[in-house]
Amino acid sequence: MPLDTAPVRKMLRITGVSASDPLTYRLMEMGLIEGRQVQVLRRAPWGDPMHLRVGDYELSLRATEAALIDVAAE
């Protein structure tokens, strides 16, 4: 499923990163690549962006950006 629809607080594993543009390239560089764990910690008060834990650090992504990343529940 795309990361933007993933349930909160579930441990997820990245199964694919779609599209290839400077933004997805940057997301991959920041550690959002296949096989890595990611967790949605919460959403911002107006539902977007999302607060993620990627490996050992935390990151904010908009839903449109998170939609480029496919994840599966662990």
Partner: protein, 739 residues
């Protein structure tokens, strides 16, 4: 816990690649010369703290030729030869996403001066995999390198142990564990840096997929100038990006690049993602056994704080309360200081005035020079207060959360959460707000934020609103006094700016700053206590850069406007008034104020006012309002003193003085004798002040922050035109409604 990860601060010896047997590095200058060491790292890893610890807070900021980013450099304390640290902007990768990040790439690759002799790479022990991504790219640029392993204390507190010795062995480079905020732990870095200058560049190469390695070699072989494989990879990985532009600038062959890209496509390889995967695979091998995670079960402290502070009810309430407290501090806290500066400068003016004979020199010193100095210094309390608040909120990690929470609200403007704080603080004063926009990484977003910030009604417009509303808005009240007309008009003035800023932001986003959004990829660092020294340093840097760089221009403009309003003073004007004095029986004080008015009327400024009168007449303004507006160019609040002078009240006027209010009510058109300040005129004047760019400080700071004179000029012309048109519309609408 790994036995060797004991957090010792001794330097861990280098592996084979760092021994001098490979011969001295050609890039390292002779030992008598100064050598530059580039400090490189991700954002939020303690780079500035390490810089401060190494240099003892000695920094000079320089704007490098050809680049529009300020770089700080400073000498290393305790080095046996001259070593300089160059503080490069934080970046996640050498494929730049912003001008700041492009500088890192350019300096390391030798495209921009100064060419560093070695690299000091700082990595965050709490988050090594992502930090090693940039490191793996940096190690390939062919410069000797030393690694500072920072935040070993924070990592241990979280249950992450890092075996620094094993990491050094695997990388073949010196790794020095440090706690950047504790200078004594940083001292062991200095001798390691000195010996690194004599070391060979690291031999580290991340293995790439075959097709990508072949394409890289093809590019290297074809290049007319020597091209490093690492640089060739950057060109391939980022189509149309910064490195590709550099490649063509150095005479790179378009056909060879196109062929290399085609070969990669045929092999089914997308160079960017392939590079990322190859690097992370390498990182996993390097870190296997180096990082041992013993994370305690349950949530981190940071996460528990976030549950509250980013909660949809409690978090929003906390943000609102915090913003209110911040505004209160900026308004109420800075006000006594501003009054003290004002009083101090005024007192000094009087004392100096007593020493000088009456005349042009006294007026120049008291009004031109000291008025200008006072005008500059009066901004300082607000700038310092705002930057103290910003530094505290940023250092503790809350700023990123505030941006996270409001991002959704900023999006319709083509902006992101990062623009929120600068825009909000612009309601206090646009000058520190524009300086605060530096924190916005994306250039387009930063420029839009800077250009719409002056539309927010700052505290200098408040006296103008207070005076005109107090004098001319009728005291209507409804609902038992809870809804008052004067309060509504005041609120309207604040809204006018916002209402016009929105379409202008959208217009800029569609025209001058069109392009894809870089999104909102923002790291949320863990919460920590803010450090006093960090806060004081931010206040000092902001205050100093304002006083020195903007202050001088503001002072010059103030003197020019003073001269236009002072000269020429003909003896005829005085003689004519002296004759009238006999007939009208004025006392000395009212004679002086009549004289001040007469002088202003015949000054160059006064003449200019009459020249522009045809242009402002449609607004319902006469030449006196015109010169009020003209003379308020250095700072908006000056209009009050000018109105005081032209209504022949003499100086020493402030917005609350009832005599100025009644004088304004009593002013009439010189030809028809009808009241000058009607409600439509007052409203149009207020709307003009709400929208115009009558603030030389703001314009100077826009010029400084955008590194261009085009944007302040565009701001001035654009905002003044808009202010004029809307003021005209307000005046016309007011008259049509019979106000």
């Amino acid at each position: 816990m790994h036995p060797s990860a004991s957090g010792s601060t001794t330097n861990i010896s280098a592996g084979p690649a760092a021994t001098p047997e490979h011969g001295p590095n050609a890039a390292a200058p002779a030992s008598s010369e100064s050598a530059a060491i580039a400090l490189v790292g991700n954002p939020n890893v303690g780079k500035t703290a390490l810089f401060n610890a190494l240099t003892g807070y000695r920094r000079h900021v320089a704007n490098y030729p050809g680049v529009s980013v300020d770089l700080a450099r400073g000498p290393v304390r305790g080095a046996s030869r001259t070593l300089e640290v160059l503080d490069l902007p934080g970046t996640y990768s050498l494929t730049p996403a912003s001008p700041d990040e492009a500088i890192v790439c350019d300096v390391l690759c030798g495209h921009a001066p100064p060419r560093p002799a070695a690299i000091l790479a700082i990595v965050d022990a709490t988050n090594l995999p992502r930090n090693l991504y940039l490191l793996s790219q940096v190690l390939e640029v062919g410069l000797p390198a030393v690694i500072a392993l920072n935040m070993i204390d924070a990592a241990r507190a979280r249950g992450i142990e890092v075996d620094a010795r094993l990491l050094a062995e695997r990388l073949g480079l010196p790794v020095v564990p440090v706690i950047a905020t504790q200078p004594e732990t940083v001292a062991p870095l200095v001798p390691v840096l000195e010996s690194a200058l004599r070391a060979a560049p690291p031999a580290t190469r991340v293995p790439l997929p075959d097709a990508l390695a072949r394409a890289t070699s093809a590019l290297v072989a074809s290049a007319p100038a020597p091209l490093q494989p690492a640089k060739a990879l950057r060109v391939l990985a980022d189509p149309d990006g910064h490195s590709e532009k550099q490649f063509f600038k150095l005479g790179g062959d378009r056909c060879v690049l196109a062929e290399a890209r085609e070969a990669l496509r045929a092999a089914g390889i997308d160079p960017g993602p392939a590079e990322v995967r190859a690097r992370y695979a390498w990182i996993d091998r390097i870190l296997d056994g180096v990082v041992i995670r013993n994370l305690p079960p349950g949530d981190t402290w940071s996460d528990r704080i976030d549950r509250l502070l980013t909660h949809r009810v409690a978090g929003v309430a906390a943000l609102a309360a915090l913003l209110y407290a911040a505004f209160y501090t900026i308004y109420a806290g800075a006000q006594p200081l501003m009054d003290a500066i004002d009083g101090g400068v005024g007192w000094l003016g009087l004392r100096i005035g007593e020493l000088l004979p009456a005349g042009a020199l006294r007026s120049l010193v008291a009004e031109g020079v000291l008025g200008g100095v006072g005008g500059v210094l009066a901004f300082l309390p607000q700038i310092l207060t705002l930057f103290a608040l910003i530094a505290i909120l940023e250092d503790c990690g809350y700023m990123a959360r505030a941006a996270f929470m409001v991002d959704r609200l900023m999006r319709p403007l083509g902006l992101s959460g990062r623009a929120f704080i600068p825009l909000l603080s612009s309601f206090a004063c646009a000058v520190p707000a524009i300086m605060g926009a530096r924190a916005i990484g994306d250039r387009r977003e930063r420029f839009i934020t800077i250009l719409i910030a002056p539309f927010m009604s700052c505290s200098a417009r408040l006296p103008v609103y207070t005076l005109l509303i107090g004098a001319l808005v009728p005291a209507h009240a409804w609902l038992g006094g809870w809804v008052r007309l004067d309060a509504l008009v005041m609120l309207g003035m604040y809204l006018v700016g916002v209402v016009f800023a929105i379409p202008i932001a959208l217009l800029l986003r569609k025209t001058a700053f069109a392009g894809p959004s870089t999104g909102f990829v923002l790291e949320l660092p863990g919460y920590k206590w803010p450090r006093l020294r960090t806060v004081l340093q931010r206040m000092y840097l902001a205050g100093w850069s304002f006083v020195v760089r903007a202050g001088t221009v503001i002072l010059a403009v103030n003197i020019v406007v003073w001269a236009l309003g002072y000269f020429p003073r003909s003896a005829d004007a005085r003689a004519a008034l002296e004759q009238q004095q006999q007939a009208a029986g004025w006392d000395d004080a009212s004679f002086e104020s009549q004289l001040a008015g007469a002088y202003l009327r015949e000054s160059y400024l006064g003449r200019l006012g009459r020249v522009i009168e045809p242009a402002i007449e449609p607004l319902g303004w006469d030449w006196r309002i015109g010169i009020g507006v003209l003379s308020s160019f250095p700072a908006r609040e000056v209009v009050i003193a000018t109105l005081g002078t032209i209504s022949n009240l003499g100086e020493e006027t402030d917005a609350r003085s009832p005599s100025l209010r009644s004088a304004i009510q009593a002013m009439t058109w010189e030809d028809t004798g009808k009241p000058l300040f009607t409600l439509p005129v007052a409203l149009s004047l207020m709307v003009f002040f709400a929208l115009c760019a009558q603030c030389v400080s703001t314009l100077v700071v826009i010029g400084r922050e955008t590194h261009s004179w085009m944007w302040p000029c565009a701001s001035f012309v654009g905002m003044t035109t808009l202010a004029y048109l809307v003021a005209w519309g307000t005046s016309a609408a007011g008259r049509a409604l019979g106000l």
